[in-house]
Amino acid sequence: MAAEDLPSEFDVVILGTGLTESVAAAAFSRVGQRVLHVDRRSYYAGNWASFTFSGLLTWIQQHHEEPLPEEAQDWSSLLEEGEELIHLSHSDCASIRNLQVFCFTSEEDEEEEAPNTTEEETGGAAEDSECADSTEEETKETGEEEEEVREEEEVREEEQTTPSAALRQSEPTKKKISYAQLLKEGRRFNIDLVSKLMYSRGSLVDLLIKSNVSRYAEFKNVTRILTYRDRQVEQVPCSRADVFASRQLSVVEKRKLMRFLTSCVEETEEQRAYNGRPYLEFLRDRQLGDNLQHFLLHSIAMVTEDTPTEEGLASTRHFLRCLGRYGNTPFLFPVYGLGEIPQCFCRMCAVFGGIYCLRHSVDGVVVDRDSNRCKAVIDSRGQRITCSHFVVEEGYVAADRKRVATPTRFLSRAVLITDGSILPSDSDQQVSMVTVPPIAAGCPAVKMVELCSSTMTCMPGTYLVHLTCQSVGSAYEDLSPVVTRMFRTPESHDQETCPSVLWCLYFNMTDGSGLEAEGHNLPSNVYVCSGPDGDLGHELAIRQAESIFQKILPEEDFCPPAPNPEDIIYDGDNTSSSAGGEEEKEENDGVAEEEKQEEEKEMLEEEKEMLEEEKEMLEEEKEMLEEEKEVLEEQNLQTEE
């Protein structure tokens, strides 16, 4: 971070580096707006961030610590006549709660491995979370949780000395990865706070392509869709190739499924007749059978039993439209984790002159009393920065100033590190989307994503599993029943074949979809961005960023394609050689230090991206060129005269 002062005038100041804010920052910067983008945290992406294992432990620690008392600094000397100050929140903890950590593997890498029992501890944890559920003051809550973590450590120590004989017998021959190993290999983890996937024809992918931001990242296909049904994990055949290869479907089911999927694509009178009635009813009347009905409802439409038909069909269509663009499933996942995506947009913003400061916040918004407009912001070092617009993540806005759905909606999240795939297959490098329908009435439907080590989010030999659902209770209450059923933990029984959980984390996060679009008690040129929502895709964040952009610059194009680096002219103080560009970047030293390295990486990544695009085009061409040969072979096959 630069020690000297920042420029004192910007077009747009953005606080928070979550996806919405980052996309907005890139969009503004791209069309020539002067952007200052700051984040109080020491890392990018806020609640959208990805952490290494140790980074995550630090993050957990931070959320356990008592926040520093919020000293409202007196900036009145910086105010002019007719101005007043709206203070922004410092606290980070409001959006995350009910944090619980469990370690089910041994502390050290021992020769004779001790199995783990944490039953006592989990009993305690459940109680704890119940207490913590009520939204009391932060201090009390975090205090309790700290206690719990300590307790956990004790238990771990205990384990090493008194291994349970009953569990020892069932110890698998495979050596478990120890906690020490997880720590040692911690840098190989990129653990996302949110768990989402990119719909290959969703608005995020479209935006990445349109804006050329895709060149900053690499993506992997989700390789299979799984579902949990009758206490078993099954693969959902959703593409043509899957249906063809499926062993669980009879040929008649194959036909019915294909026919249903084909007929779905277009809206028909027959479908309209079901508007308002449950999708399940529509499916039932198609006489598809239980198998297919389950697949279509839970895994393809990903809706609940009472979702109306038109909605179910719409999400089925969306799923189908996304199939086959990049692979056999509709989803992509960014290598190195979802936290890459906001950073890619920040990079784009920086390339077009946006200035970045981490560990740097905005303390207050200077409002002109007469016009009720934001004139400037006061940063955490007491600099007054003039701006025409201020975009802020909702976490910084005091509760009494924003309008959110009541009661506050939360997401329940669990992150597991496991030692095996939930459905082992020929390849151990599968990226799986797993839909888990409510395991009992009143339970939420859980979306689960299992990542393998080639996504660069976990160390080889492990899998990273994300579970997400709408909160009913605490994350632990909502998700641990699913974890216990599908994985081997000390609480589970007779699940020798399931993968073991080595380490897991439960927490609740505010559901960003609870934030209202309008009606905040804020100046008209202050725009609030919500945090992550519970949907699988990124539609909300992108829509929000675009709508903020359009409110401010209704005439401008939203994220037009970025030019190739060789087409950018660097003039001004330096010579216009391409090397000068790099130097000038250094000069703009609002840019955080990482930024420089990233710029270097950029060139390499660009090349990769271009190659991939070419490949895509070639593939399209290939099909056309094929016909000649096809015809010949067709003739060979034909037994006709």
């Binding site: 249906v243 063809f244 040929v251 036909r255 294909m258 026919r259 001004g572 070639l618 096809e630 096959l637």
Partner: protein, 582 residues
């Protein structure tokens, strides 16, 4: 403004690009000219290798340069030792790999790779196979790669079952792939060479035939095994509109080829003529056909039934006058097909005016050759699953057509009604091909009528009012004396019609016949009934003049009857006709 990004205008970009291109072109042209002059001078050195490499990596379709490169390499082979040669060729392979990355469908690169691989002192086939796999995983229909792969497989002797597994994998990832299905169809016969004994005894020809020569064998494989795998069924149930699987399915079911043989010998005392029918069209003048009469080889001239045919399933010859005309003599005739080591005997007994020896269509199960002869139970279960699919997809043409074929293979007569109904649906759902279906249906109806005739052991062929659009299998009607084709949609009596050498009465009322080309030199034809057809000129009737015994001709309802002086013209054209209806 400080820090703002300025972007080159499109004009600037264009200009830069143009300059870039010009520069490239200059370098390219210079290198090309250098190569050409070097080649002219016969220089085969490393520099030339360098130059061609440079050019070919930007344009891998420059065949001349590849040739030059091969010349250089062949020269280097003579001057370097094996290790060095190995090294050079390995470098060549990695160069080719980079070319293929640029253009995975370059003929030149793939061909050169094949050439290099074949010359490599110590080839690494495993590496080549994995290259092919990689390439096919990027594009599973790259036929260049398929070709190259076949070569690699052949050279390295990859086991057939492993290759079959490979096709399984590719079909698994995308089954709309003729290349993979086709490859399977070439692998299966290798994996299951023809069984020495046909499975069903009824297939044994009634006469003792010599062992089939390599060309005549009929592959019969255990298709049950491959049907059980249901790979292909999975494919067409998943996407019944994808033809690749259907074609493969047809191939799988229809492997039987007909044995090549003389299917019939006919001799007529009156005409002193012999007619021979073969199981497939041949050119009798060049296949070594030998006629032996009472132990004496005869010098005869074989001619096809119509001058238009060089190849025909039916050939005739005239015996020297007087050799068999005496009705009190008995004669023994043998026709040898020397090329195929096969023959057929025929005895003409005392008091008989004609005689023949043949395998009937029913004996040969001729019309089942469309789909193979495999066990009925297999076909039956296939029919069931197709019917199941048809219930789900009542309008799928591939399914309907396959059902028809299965029904024909199982019981052509028993399923006649269903077959006709399916044909009707087919014509409606695939109206662009209704004529094709019409012809196919005609063929099947003719086959059925032939079968019925055979069962009834008569020489009358009657197929009226069946919407026939075409005539086929006419070689099977060699012995027919009376044919009734009335009330169909025939437009012509094609040249093949001349194969009906025994025909006496031809009924073809109520068709749309315009052309009588096939009513040609039919020695016994006496009666031709062509009421309500479309014969419009006298010239159309010209072929009838070649039938010496024609007495009765019905032309009522034809445009030709409106011709002036029709009666006198006809009397002149067809003097033998005594009973003319106009």
């Amino acid at each position: 403004m400080h820090g703002r990004v300025k972007i080159k205008s499109t004009a600037q970009q264009e200009e830069e690009k143009r300059k870039e291109r010009e520069k490239k072109l200059k370098i390219y042209v210079a290198a090309r000219d250098a190569c050409f002059s070097k080649r002219k001078e016969g220089i085969w050195d490393d520099e030339a290798l360098q130059l061609t490499q440079q050019l070919l990596s930007s344009n891998p379709d420059f065949a001349t340069l590849w040739n030059y490169r091969r010349e250089i390499l062949m020269h280097l082979e003579t001057v370097k030792d094996e290790d060095e040669v190995q090294k050079i060729y390995e470098a060549e392979l990695s160069f080719l790999e980079s070319c293929l990355k640029v253009n995975p469908k370059s003929y030149g690169s793939w061909h050169h790779r094949g050439w290099v691989s074949a010359r490599l002192p110590r080839p690494d086939w495993a590496r080549e196979l994995s290259l092919c796999d990689r390439c096919l995983s990027l594009d599973d229909r790259n036929f260049h790669c398929w070709d190259y792969r076949r070569m690699v497989v052949k050279m390295s002797g990859v086991p057939v079952d492993q290759e079959l597994g490979f096709t399984d994998r590719l079909i698994g990832s995308n089954f709309s792939n003729y290349s993979s299905w086709h490859y399977r169809s070439t692998l299966l016969p290798l994996l299951h060479p023809e069984s020495p004994e046909p499975p069903s005894p009824c297939r044994e020809p009634p006469h003792s035939s010599p062992p089939p020569s390599p060309q005549t064998h009929s592959h019969r494989l255990c298709i049950q095994q491959y049907l059980k795998v249901t790979l292909v069924q999975n494919a067409f149930f998943t996407d019944p509109n994808d033809q690749s699987a259907w074609f493969y399915y047809r191939w799988l079911l229809g492997r039987a080829e007909r044995e090549e043989m003389i299917s019939c010998v006919y001799v007529s005392r009156d005409e002193e003529r012999v007619a021979v029918a073969f199981s497939r069209p041949v050119n009798a003048q060049s296949v070594g056909l030998l006629l032996v009469l009472d132990g004496q080889p005869q010098r005869v001239e074989w001619r096809s039934v119509h001058p238009r045919f060089k190849h025909s399933p039916v050939w005739i010859c005239d015996l020297p006058p007087g050799t068999i005309s005496d009705i009190t003599n008995e004669h023994n005739l043998t026709v040898h097909w020397t090329e195929k080591h096969t023959h057929r005997d025929c005895a003409l007994y005392t008091g008989r005016t004609e005689s023949w020896c043949r395998d009937s269509a029913t004996d040969q199960e001729l019309f089942r050759s469309e789909l193979s002869v495999e066990k009925t139970s297999v076909l039956q279960s296939e029919l069931q699953s197709c019917n199941q699919l048809q219930e789900l997809e009542p309008l799928n043409k591939w399914c309907l057509l396959t059902i028809i074929l299965l029904m024909r293979a199982l019981d052509p007569l028993g399923y006649e009604k269903e077959t006709l109904a399916h044909f009707q649906t087919l014509k409606e759902v695939d109206s662009m091909r209704s004529a094709y279906y019409g012809d196919l249906c005609s063929k099947f109806m003719i086959e059925n009528t032939i079968l019925k005739m055979e069962y009834a052991e008569v020489r009358v062929f009657s197929i009226s009012d069946k919407n026939l659009t075409t005539l086929c299998h006419l070689d099977q009607l060699l012995l027919v004396t009376h044919i009734n084709l009335s009330s169909n949609q025939l437009q012509q009596l094609p040249p093949q019609f001349a194969m009906l050498q025994c025909l006496e009465v031809l009924e073809a009322d109520n068709n749309s016949i315009e052309n009588l080309e096939g009513v040609y030199h039919l020695p016994k034809l006496e009666e031709v009934l062509l009421k309500n057809n479309k014969i419009s000129t006298l010239a159309d009737l010209q072929p009838l003049a070649s039938c010496p015994k024609l007495k009765r001709l019905d032309l009522r309802g034809n445009p030709v009857t409106q011709t002036a002086n029709i009666e006198s013209e006809l009397a002149e054209l067809l003097p033998s006709v005594t009973d003319l209806l106009l």
